[in-house]
């Protein structure tokens, strides 16, 4: 044991700050960003309260939130810088070179020393130092060229070396070596990292600003901001993790923060129960993560390095079955963290936390950690599940089921946040499904767009709730559009985007996922080299229908009809509405970043697939990403189906419910069962009645009034009898199905199983306690009897 040398044995950290000029230097120092947030956490936690308030403008702002906002604002600016630097770095990455080098690696040809030096020289010329890694040589350096390609040089013991090109920036050092294990840490910056960097810092900044108003006057104001900072730091740490250990660490940390923030209002027992449930459900997945990562650690020859694991998985150096088991374990982690069906139950419960937390953690960032993890270790899943050749696999299936079930569940919630929570579950299902079918880019793109419109929806819901002091749409909302115009507009925009209506952001990303399934060639889509996942396409289309429908319901219940609550709601302050506006702008425009090829022709063709261009890893350590050919047919079919859902819902709510409301003289939320008897029309309902007629009239004008004669009559008849009934039935069926799933499957089975496991262990614990009688001779009897039995059994067995 050379304990005295222990500290000096850690290889020197050697950062070569040669990133082709000063501008791109940020890419090597992105670790500063989480560090700032960690410092912010420490400062707020320990000094937040004593610093008092800072006067900004005419309002007193507690110092804690100011520190948090300043920190996250700085981080956001740094992220923008990093993004710009990345664009520069990526654009200067010679893809042709990369391909040729890749072929060397792929063919199994070991480039000889001369070639190697050539390559290295080449890199040097471009100002790109090499990244050395390998079995024999210690990890000396990890850096990358800003102006050119980075080369991943593997020096074998025999002097042979393999050169791989990677656009990623790797930096790190050996954290420690202990018990034969080498732990490396560092940063891995590539497309997904930059993407998440932007999303996390932006949403976090907006949520910080929003929260200054939302949790204003809360007695745990300081702690709230401290944990927001810690969460942001952990999340940023997670996305730039270079090794799996780092990843697990950050993964647990975000879990802890989530736990602390869900339980922000501990006093109410449901809240603390929800927090513990979230924590425990997540732990189930964490174990999957831990076991999966440890399997990969040994399978990849004792390394935690994500790039190395990926590389070995791609190169087929890890047996397929090992990868499959590892991928299954990791899938468990994804299921719990990213709320996939059967482990999703914690996510709706987690809505007990403050709304900004829901927006940040349970919609835009933490819950996508699972998706991000798949994206990071994609080769493991790709090879393990044989994504390229099959038409069904665990990941795609779980995702698809989650899409539909989540969407159905969203139907029957009265709590606006729960609707959004189930919607999040459903949308996460899309992302996981996309990864499962091989549409890597589409998954990340959807992650990107979803972050904006879902955060916008949550914050919008929070804005409404802030005003009416409740989340119950049926009891305390209704007609809010009159009181909160800005919130209303942004909420509708985000909803449209979520529903995937052309040309909002959600349309592009959802369409890309559907195309990526490659199902049913008749739509003209093709999943690239991947299999044809027809089932996933169908489920995705059903999901799209449901999405529009439940969002219509939310909008109706919240913003239309008459106000059913108490008090005098009013529009929220600027600190709440401005983030909403910003998010809705992104919800509209973010989709333009990844326009499918062929959509724009001519000069502007450069705008096609920019997102994919910048985000996709260019590395030998990654499987070929299938790019589906976009299909107009599919886009149209999907759009029609996607609009059909909302259309039914619009008719159901805005027409039938509205009419019945008028008839009943109060603002209804659903149609009462069966045809009810006439109720004397109240005076207050008069305007509504008029409005109802107006809508009906419009409808008749558009559909029936346009035609004459028998066609008009027929249309009129079908409108009155057929369409009415069909829509009525469809709406009712959807509600019943959702209700059924919720009350018969989700709550008793899934939730019950999760709760039951806890209760069973408690009950078993109680039984065990009875054996602890307090009587010492009882204990002695256990001791002697156990000794005898153990010895006896072993004597007999052996």
């Amino acid at each position: 044991m050379k304990f005295l040398l222990a500290a000096s044995e850690v290889p020197e950290v050697s950062f070569t700050s040669d990133v082709g000029g000063g501008f791109n230097i940020i890419l090597e120092y992105v670790w500063v960003i989480p560090l700032i947030m960690a410092l912010s956490f420490a400062v707020i936690l320990f000094f937040g309260k004593s610093l008092g308030s800072i006067k900004i403008g005419d309002s007193e702002t507690p110092a804690s939130s100011t520190i948090g906002i300043a920190a996250v604002g700085t981080c956001f600016l740094l992220s923008l810088w990093a993004g710009a630097a990345w664009i520069d770095h990526r654009d200067n990455f010679p893809e042709a070179d990369a391909t040729s080098v890749l072929e060397h690696g792929g063919d199994g040809e070991h480039s000889d020393d001369a070639e190697h030096s050539d390559e290295a020289e080449h890199s040097d010329e471009e100002g790109a130092p090499a990244y050395f890694d390998g079995d024999g040589a210690p990890l000396v350096d990890a850096s990358v060229g800003g102006a050119g390609a980075a080369a991943l040089v593997e020096a074998g013991e025999d002097g042979h070396s393999e050169v791989h090109a990677s656009v990623a920036i790797l930096k790190g050092f050996t954290w420690f070596q202990s018990g034969g294990h080498e732990f490396t840490v560092g940063i891995l910056v590539d497309g997904p990292t930059i993407l998440m960097l932007f999303v996390v810092t932006l949403i976090s900044l907006l949520v910080h600003i929003y929260s200054t108003d939302y949790v204003h006057g809360d007695r745990r104001y300081t702690h709230f901001f401290a944990f927001l900072s810690l969460f942001t730091a952990s999340m940023l740490f997670l996305i730039m993790s270079r090794s799996t250990v780092q990843f697990i660490t950050a993964w647990e940390l975000v879990g802890v923060c989530s736990f602390a923030l869900i339980g922000h209002w501990w006093e109410e027992k449901p809240n603390s129960d929800a927090a513990l449930k979230a924590f425990l459900t997540n732990r189930v997945g964490d174990m999957g993560l831990l076991i999966g990562m440890i399997i990969l650690y040994f399978a990849a020859g004792r390394t935690f390095d994500i790039m190395t694991i990926n590389e070995m998985a791609v190169a087929g150096e890890i047996p397929r079955n090992t990868l499959l088991i590892a991928a299954l374990c990791l899938t468990a982690a994804v299921m719990s963290k990213s709320g996939q069906f059967i482990l999703h139950t914690w996510l709706p419960d987690a809505m007990a936390g403050p709304t900004p937390v829901s927006a940040l953690i349970h919609a835009a960032t933490m819950v996508v950690a699972g998706v991000y993890m798949i994206a990071r270790l994609y080769p493991v899943f790709f090879e393990g599940f044989a994504i390229s050749g099959s038409s069904i696999n665990a990941l795609a299936l779980i995702g698809a089921i989650t899409v539909v079930f989540g969407g159905m569940l969203a139907f029957v919630q009265d709590d606006i946040k729960k609707v959004l929570a189930y919607s999040t579950v459903s949308q996460l299902g899309y992302m996981v499904m996309a990864l499962g079918v091989g549409a890597w880019t589409a998954a990340l793109f959807h992650l990107f767009t979803h972050a904006f419109f879902k955060a916008g929806l949550f914050l919008g819901a929070g804005s409404v709730a802030h005003s009416v002091h409740s989340f119950d749409m049926k009891k305390d909302m209704g007609g809010m559009r009159k009181f909160m115009p800005t919130t209303f507009k942004t909420f509708v925009i985000c909803s449209i985007s979520l529903a995937g209506v052309f040309p909002f952001a959600g349309f592009w990303s959802k369409d890309e996922i559907l195309v990526g399934t490659g199902g049913w060639g008749l739509f003209g889509g093709s999943g690239g080299s991947n299999g044809a996942y027809t089932l996933m396409l169908v489920m995705g289309l059903v999901g799209a229908m449901l999405t529009g429908a439940y969002m219509t319901r939310v909008i109706y219940l919240t913003f239309f009809g008459e106000f059913r609550g108490h008090g005098h709601p009013h529009e929220s302050g600027k600190r709440i509405t401005i983030p909403l506006v910003i998010l809705s702008v992104f919800a509209v425009g973010a989709g333009l970043l990844n326009l499918p090829p062929g959509f724009i022709t001519g000069e502007e063709a450069g705008w096609q697939e920019r997102f994919g261009h910048f985000i996709e890893p260019q590395s030998a350590a990654f499987p070929p990403i299938g790019h589906a050919t976009p299909s107009y047919t599919l886009a149209i079919v999907a759009s029609i189906l996607g609009l059909l859902g909302p259309a039914i819902a619009v008719f159901y709510y805005f027409n039938r419910v509205e009419a019945r409301s008028k008839v009943e003289g109060r603002s209804l939320t659903e149609l009462p069962d069966g045809l009810t008897s006439r109720v004397p029309i109240a005076k207050a309902g008069h305007t509504l009645l008029a409005e109802k007629y107006y809508l009906d009239h419009l409808y008749t004008d558009v559909i029936a009034g346009g035609t004459k004669g028998p066609v008009a009559d027929m249309a009129d008849w079908s409108n009155k009898h057929l369409i009415d009934n069909v829509i009525d039935t469809a709406g009712r069926t959807a509600v019943t199905a959702g209700q059924f799933v919720y009350t018969k499957i989700d709550q008793p089975l899934v939730d019950g199983a999760v709760d039951g496991a806890g209760k069973a262990s408690s009950a078993f614990g109680d039984e065990l306690r009875k054996s602890q009688t307090g009587k010492v001779q009882q204990y002695a009897a256990y001791l002697f009897a156990a000794a005898a039995v153990l010895a006896g059994v072993l004597i007999i067995v052996i």
Partner: protein, 102 residues
Amino acid sequence: MTEVYLNQFLILAAVLFSIGVYGVLARRNGVMVLMSIELILNSVNINLVAFSAFRGTLGGEVFALFVIAVAAAEVGVGLALVLLLYRNSKTIDFSEVDAMKG
């Protein structure tokens, strides 16, 4: 030809051990429990000395001496604890000593 078997000592020891175990489990009087412990420890000593004679080495006898010395100390400590119990609770009934459980 009569032979002295090793097993006759070992089984005697096993009998004493088991009787001792019965004693510590069934007795309620603290002092009697301590006496039963002595039975167990003595059975171990019989084992040790018998093995010592069987193997022709001294280790067992030395071990037995150490056991005797330690047993004496243990009895002293045990009686001190029982006395303390008696002073605090006015009983030496071990089955009444169950304030902590669960």
